[in-house]
């Protein structure tokens, strides 16, 4: 039983030497998989948000009146402006990507700075809205879902802003940190930002418009 198989193994190992492969440290010898990994992460993130959305829709579907009677009407102007800011920031951040693809680090800094600023304005707008709402976290089921969903999204906006600030910090610390052929941080922050944007659009429709 042993002999015949051993031959086989040997043939495998010998044929292995035919192809020369660098014995460098593992991570330099395969292509950069971080973007792929980021997408896997966003699959999980999407599932998390979808779970919360479906929970909200279920609460809504089984309630006799939605939002429950006595819930003050939501003001649309401020969140509307916020939505426009967030959606347009997705266009702005894409300029940064185009800039770094042309090796334009100054452009990268400019567009990332503007996007981060827009994110911060969005967050401030949301805090302002929270402070002026006539219902609190515990008022009723609608109020609770409203705060938890927007709050959870706000947390993601904050993470996105922090990612952009981190990219800015790195590009300021060393001007050649990002270049046309190595800018994972820029790309990742942009993809994440688009994701946060899409989630907001769904959230806005669910909470404010429907």
């Amino acid at each position: 039983m042993q002999g015949s198989i051993d031959n086989k193994n040997q043939s495998i190992q010998i044929s292995g030497t035919a192809e020369t492969v660098a014995v460098a440290h593992g991570h330099e010898e395969h292509p950069d998989l971080r973007i792929f990994g980021l997408f896997m992460f966003l699959v999980a993130e999407s599932a998390l948000f979808i779970g919360l959305f479906v929970a909200y829709l279920t609460f809504r579907a089984v309630a006799p009146v939605w939002p429950p009677e006595g819930t003050p009407k939501l003001e649309l102007l401020l969140p509307g402006i916020n939505t426009v800011i967030l959606i347009s920031s997705s266009l702005v951040i894409h300029q940064a990507d185009s800039a770094i693809k042309k090796n334009d680090v100054a452009g990268l800094r400019k567009w990332f700075g503007i996007t981060a600023l827009m994110g911060i304005v969005f967050l401030c707008g949301q805090v302002y809205e929270y402070m002026h709402l006539e219902f609190g976290l515990r008022t009723n089921l609608f109020a609770s879902t409203f705060y938890v969903l927007t709050g959870f999204h706000g947390l993601h906006v904050m993470v996105g802003v922090m990612l952009m600030l981190a990219v800015l910090w790195r590009s300021i610390k060393s001007a050649d940190h990002y270049s046309s052929d190595s800018h994972f941080g820029v790309e990742a922050a942009e993809i994440y930002w688009h994701f946060v944007d899409v989630i907001w659009i769904i959230l806005f429709i669910l909470l404010y418009l429907l």
Binding site: K8, N9, E19, E29, L33, V43, L52, T58, L137
Partner: protein, 550 residues
């Protein structure tokens, strides 16, 4: 304990640029990014929690030896079964299957030097010890008592501090699991040696693709449910609290949307392990490679649309119950395909009855019993009759112990020579198997009858007419506890004193056997090239030569 994992001199030459060419024992206790170290860390840690969860189980069985709650008071009993289930699921079976085996084996099997994201891998591991310590520590503050399902409103009204700790531990464990899933998916899809197509992968990799997909899609839903539950618990909202206008059934849906797929997260890796072990120790090619590979994906997909069969008594409407009954029964088809594939592989093979093969056969026989009682439970009328009885307890232990834990031991024995570099003792392995198999069946088989007679689960006291069978279960559980002793002695003794293992003690064909035992730090001196299928055992000599030449 791990001092003996030193590498042969070849390894040191292989990676001179690496800085630490030699494996040190400290690596196993610190933040290390080598997938093999992380795999062993996962295994040792989860085995520790297996012992903790096992102790809790023995406490439960001892309490149930008599009908009265005389050993512990009922509140502590509730905490004990809550912690038993939580620890066994989230800190033993999930980390042992997806953590230990997947981390250790995937890069070796596909000819990679490490996982795609080694640091992320280590981060994922180091989230678990704090989660486990918090869970065990919560006994000091009054542990969660609402069962591992933690249904509100019960979970909102009992042992609040323990419940909060429970939620936080599970969120940590879930995050760790998701990070692992990202890593497995990326590694398997993107890092195979160029000569290995999807259909040349070892079946364990297919099983892990299916498992990782479930982790990525289902675990976040549990996180969502737990976040909402923690708001109810700590901030006074009423998502799931009927007194504030909330809906407990929404929690049940979210919980089971994760926790049913979790059953497959806990068993698919072992389907993979069994698919590796059976052909090797039967010296025959696997029967129906494609069927076994694709049935993993089918189980993964179907596993996402069966969750409400846990909720047939939760006021689920009739048409919905019908849907979930049918989908649940359909899952038996891909599972049956696998079982037939394994049996057909063994049929007429040169079976060696060594420890991994014995456990694999134990897995097959007990898992089939659990699978069949699963189909019984899928039928709505029967399920309503036995809901929350010991029949369910019997079923789930046949699947999770008879399936997953037997699968873990199969894997441990099969890859022990590779991971440790020494052979385990075959005699004590067989003793371990016999004791485990007998102990397992004596413990859990009578529970079917108890359940059919109407003994409710999760209650410290029971009607006196159930006592005889309960005592049989309790004696069985003691045998099961003792069966761990030969295993531990065997594993620890042979770690230091065992006979040196050859590189390929089983004459296997997959890549992990083509490197030294234990593998050097970056796995392969020269990356292997695929020249045979993973399971071409017993193929005629000329054919093999033709394959190699061609």
């Amino acid at each position: 304990m791990t001092a003996n994992i030193s590498l042969p001199p070849v390894a040191e030459q292989a990676s001179p640029s690496h800085g630490h060419g030699e494996r040190r024992w400290q690596d196993f206790f610190t933040f290390n990014t080598d997938h093999k170290v992380i795999g062993i860390q996962y295994m040792v840690m989860s085995f520790f929690f297996y012992l903790v969860g096992g102790l809790l189980a023995e406490g439960i069985r001892t309490e149930l030896a008599t009908p009265d709650p005389d050993l512990v008071d009922p509140a502590l009993y509730n905490s004990m079964f809550t912690m038993h289930a939580t620890i066994m699921i989230f800190l033993w079976i999930v980390p042992a299957g997806t953590g230990a085996f997947a981390n250790y084996l995937i890069p070796l099997m596909i000819g990679a030097r490490d996982m795609a994201f080694p640091k992320l891998n280590a981060v994922a591991f180091w989230m678990l010890p704090p989660a486990g310590i918090m869970l065990i520590g919560s006994f000091y503050f009054g542990t969660a008592q609402a069962g591992w399902t933690s249904y509100p409103p019960l979970s909102l009204t009992t042992a609040k501090v323990g419940e909060a700790i429970w939620i936080f531990s599970l969120l940590l464990g879930g995050t760790s699991s998701i990070l692992g899933g990202i890593n497995f998916m990326t590694t398997i899809l993107k890092m195979r040696v160029p000569s290995m197509g999807m259909m040349q992968m070892p079946l364990f990799c297919w099983a892990m693709i299916a498992t990782s997909a479930l982790i990525l899609i289902a675990t976040p839903i549990l996180a969502g449910a737990l976040i909402l539950l923690s708001f109810d618990l700590l901030a006074g909202t009423a998502f799931f609290n009927p007194t504030g206008g909330g809906h407990p059934v929404v929690y049940q849906h979210m919980f089971w949307f994760y926790s049913h797929p979790a059953v497959y997260i806990m068993v698919l890796p072992f389907f993979g392990i069994i698919s590796e072990v059976i052909p090797i120790h039967s010296r025959k090619p696997i029967f129906g490679y494609g069927a076994i590979a694709y049935s993993s994906l089918a189980i993964s997909f179907l596993g996402l649309i069966v969750w409400a069969h846990h909720m047939f008594t939760s006021g689920t409407p009739a048409w919905l119950r019908m849907f979930f009954m049918i989908t649940t029964m359909i899952i038996a088809v891909p599972t049956g395909i696998k079982v037939f594939g394994w049996l057909a592989t063994m049929w007429g093979g040169k079976i060696s009855l060594n420890s991994p093969m014995l456990f694999a056969m134990g897995f097959l026989s007990t898992f089939v019993v659990g699978g069949i009682s699963g189909v019984m439970l899928a039928a709505v009328p029967f399920d309503i009759h036995v809901h929350d009885t010991y029949f369910v307890v019997a079923h789930l232990h046949y699947v999770l112990f008879g399936g997953s834990v037997f699968g873990i031991f199969t894997g441990i024995y099969h890859w022990y020579p590779k991971a440790i570099g020494r052979m385990y003792s075959e005699f004590w392995g067989r003793v371990h198997f016999v004791m485990t198999f007998v102990g397992f069946n004596v413990t859990f088989l009578p529970m079917h009858i108890l359940g059919l007679q109407g003994m409710p689960r999760r209650i410290a006291m029971y009607a006196p007419e159930f006592q005889t069978l309960n005592q049989v279960c309790t004696w069985g559980s003691y045998l099961l506890a003792v069966s761990t002793v030969p295993f531990l002695i065997n594993a620890l003794w042979c770690w230091f004193k065992g006979e040196k293992a050859p590189d390929n003690p089983w004459n296997a064909l997959t890549f992990e056997w083509m490197t030294s035992s234990p593998p050097e730090i970056e796995n392969f001196e020269v990356l292997p090239v695929l020249t045979t299928g993973p399971y071409d055992y017993g193929v005629e000599e000329e054919e093999k030569l033709a394959t190699v030449a061609g």
